[in-house]
Amino acid sequence: MANTNNTLLEMQQVKKIYDREVLRVDQLVLKKGCIYGVIGPSGAGKSTLLRIINLLTPPSEGVVFYEGNPVPSNKQDQLKLQRRMAMVFQKTLLFRDSVWNNVAYGLKARGFSKEETKQRVDHLLEQVGLSEYSTRRADTLSGGEAQRVAITRAVAFEPDLLLLDEPTANLDPSNIEQIEKMITTMAQDRDITIVMVTHNIFQARRIADQVIFINQGKIIEMGPTEKIFSNPLEESTRHFIEGRMVY
């Protein structure tokens, strides 16, 4: 395993098999502080990749390394590792509580003191322009507002790795713009590694440093965003970014 100090995560010979093989990753290396855009057609295995990274789904075969160490088998150690990451799901689920309590959830789960939780949540809500929503019930928010709260909640405890599964699906352009701005600002200010699954290739081009193209459960191509878009090596990548049908 080629680990450098800059490597956050590495996958080797990882497979996920349900009734058929849904994902096969021979090797994948994620560097610290990068934004990765994962693109590919529906059912390509993009969400499965995120779930394996987030330890929500164990791989059927292969090894995942975090900072050079394999994922521990011990549940307690797994939880410690999981607490260094956060995931925002495609279908936003905010708890039936206030916006403030939603954002505070991860901090409370980690045993932060009341004072520190308050300080962090208030500061973060102000930073992302959600202070006025603080006492609002989360279930009264619009889709865009809810997704902004979900992302804010995910970064409140300052994870090393943020996993976003289609964070702007079904949102209007104005909300998409706001969320993209949030993502890029967070990556810059907090030095978070972000892996974002998106069906929107233009979005991947706008905000990702690196693009990973997945099709039929395999990583077809991965590289710097502009290289992938201007000069893809694989024909299926070219077809996909040109908007042609890819199966």
Binding site: N54, L56, L79, Q82, R83, M85, A86, M87, F89, K91, L93, F95, R96, Y105, G106, A109, R110, R137, A138, D139, T140, R153, A154, F157, L163
Partner: protein, 232 residues
């Protein structure tokens, strides 16, 4: 028709006069049913949550058993508890047949499956999504499970109210194990049955009105809970 009207007038007189016999029956009914629903909640909510958080494939047989028990006829529940508590039964030594305790046990038999089943359904509806979200935010298994229960609170309250609604209105089970003994095990439903047989309609109608009022209150609570759930 005039008999019914007279009955209703007399019934209201009994209610407004806080007739001691009527009050005693109402209080015993509430004591038995409230105790039964508390015990059923303590059994049904954790069990329902446990089943709801497991994959349906793994709990298929248990689900079927719970759903079957949810529709158990009260007389059958009464018969089972009677046989268990009767002198020759395995728990006959306790000597609690024809006491409020036996009635509570019979009502638990009826309410616990309802609370369990409806909790399970409520948790299963969104439980896995809530659990995954909680885990992705760093919750340990206990906090994740608690979050799921908290998120399903409207469904849980609905389950508890439904269970109460079922037991407070049932007559078969409490009749068999309680014996409808005046001043000891006579509750609203068994009293209505007896007074109707005796032709003493005033008390029966009075109890019927209170029972209907109680059903109205319980269903109003259920309605508001469900409305609260839909609004968030």
């Amino acid at each position: 028709m005039s008999r019914l009207l007279e009955g209703v007038i007399e019934a209201f007189r009994l209610i407004l006069a806080f007739d001691p016999a009527l009050i005693e029956i109402v209080l015993l009914s509430l004591r038995v049913s409230i105790t039964a629903i508390i015990i059923s909640t303590l059994i049904g909510v954790p069990l329902g949550a446990l089943l709801g958080l497991r994959s349906e494939r793994k709990t298929r047989l248990i689900n079927k058993i719970v759903f079957t028990f949810m529709g158990m006829p009260p007389v059958v529940a009464g018969l089972i508890v009677y046989l268990v508590l009767s002198r020759q039964g395995p728990l006959g030594v306790l000597g609690i047949l024809y006491t409020p305790s036996a009635m509570i046990i019979a009502q638990v038999f009826l309410a616990a499956p309802i609370v369990t089943g409806l909790t399970m359904v409520g948790i299963r509806a969104k439980g896995s999504e809530v659990e995954e979200t909680a885990r992705s935010l760093g919750a340990n298994p206990a906090l994740a499970a608690w979050t799921v229960i908290k998120e399903a609170r409207y469904a849980l309250l609905g389950a508890i109210v439904s269970g109460f609604s079922r037991v407070v209105a049932e007559v078969g089970a409490v009749m068999i194990v309680g014996g409808n003994i005046e001043g000891r095990t006579r509750v609203m439903t068994t009293a209505i049955t007896l007074e109707t047989r005796k032709g003493n309609f005033e008390l029966a109608i009075g109890l019927g009105i209170i029972l209907l009022l109680l059903a109205f209150i319980v269903n109003s609570i259920l309605y508001n809970i469900q409305k609260g759930g839909k609004n968030g």
